[in-house]
Amino acid sequence: MFGEHASFIIPSYIISFVAIVGMTIYIIAQHKLRKAELKRLEESGIKRRADNG
């Protein structure tokens, strides 16, 4: 498949795929992390106020 230059064509598709999918996964992971941290902060924030009162 893809003739004599397959060893160039396939890697270039793999590289592009890995980079774009990798970036997407990274961004999604960051999103999850931040959502979790925000939740944690909100919960601890409520606790702190409870301590005060």
Binding site: S12, S16, M23, I27, K35
Partner: protein, 254 residues
């Protein structure tokens, strides 16, 4: 007292909050469009006939050229955001600028990598100081410099203006760089014909290329919106942490 402390954060995040609500709805739609375009584009690319000159390597073009276009479009998006930062001081503009830079760098690296993989069978070397490859390399250095600048500040809001000013300074210089590199290239290699310059492209290559370019554009906007949402969240976390710290310290003082 409490209302006073809450007021600035609400003011500062009114628009970003609205943006996040909008983004949550828009991202799935954009993702679907991206997948559809990508599927069609790839299907058309792999069904394109073998080029009589380049053989199957023309397949690399379908991902190389869109990456190179997106590398430039990212800079255009960043410049527009930079104007937003300078003229309207809109917090979202800075979020957009910061989020676009790594994406631009990614597409630039992809353009260079696929260009190199395309060049090897064509030129016989992995790297040729070809006019386009060289300009893209300079663009990569500019992207990396801007990313370094954005990371150099402790406080993200302090990086907003420096980043915007540097981005906008680069914008009018980019065409000059491109022009000078082209000029330099013809000066030193008058005989070499750039492989990427094809006088006329037949429709069987043009359509898959255009669809792939649209797919890449959709990838950019999807990821950009997702990255912007992340940036807004991380700022909110930062503000909350700072407020908590301040509350703690004022408690200690009292």
């Amino acid at each position: 007292m409490t209302t006073e402390t809450i007021k600035p954060s609400i003011w500062a995040f009114a628009n970003p909050t609205r943006f996040n609500t909008f983004a949550s709805k828009a991202i799935p739609v954009l993702a679907i469009i991206t997948f559809a375009l990508l599927a069609v584009g790839l299907w058309m690319s792999f069904n394109a006939p073998e080029d009589y000159q380049q053989g199957y390597t023309v397949l690399i073009m379908f991902i190389h050229v869109p990456a190179a276009w997106l590398a430039m479009m990212s800079y255009a998006v960043m410049s527009a955001s930079a104007i937003g930062t300078i003229v309207w001081r809109h917090p979202l503009a800075n979020v957009s600028l910061r989020s676009a830079a790594p994406l631009g760098a990614m597409f630039t690296i992809l353009a260079l990598a696929t260009g190199s993989l395309w060049g090897k069978p064509m030129w016989g070397t992995w790297w040729e100081w070809d006019a386009r490859m060289t300009s893209v390399l300079v663009l990569l250095i500019i992207y990396l410099g801007l990313i370094a600048l954005s990371k150099a500040f402790d406080e993200p809001s302090e990086a907003a203006l420096p980043l915007a000013v540097m981005t906008l300074t680069g914008a009018p210089l980019l065409p000059i760089i491109k022009f000078s590199v082209d000029w330099w290239n013809t000066l030193h290699q008058p005989a070499s014909v750039s492989r990427f310059d094809r006088p006329a492209m037949s429709a069987e290559f043009l359509y898959p290329l255009l669809i792939m370019a649209l797919a890449y554009t959709a990838i950019f906007f999807t990821l950009h919106m997702m990255a912007m949402r992340n940036e807004i969240l991380s700022r909110r976390i930062r503000t909350m942490k700072m407020q908590a710290a301040r509350k703690q310290s004022s408690k200690g003082a009292a």
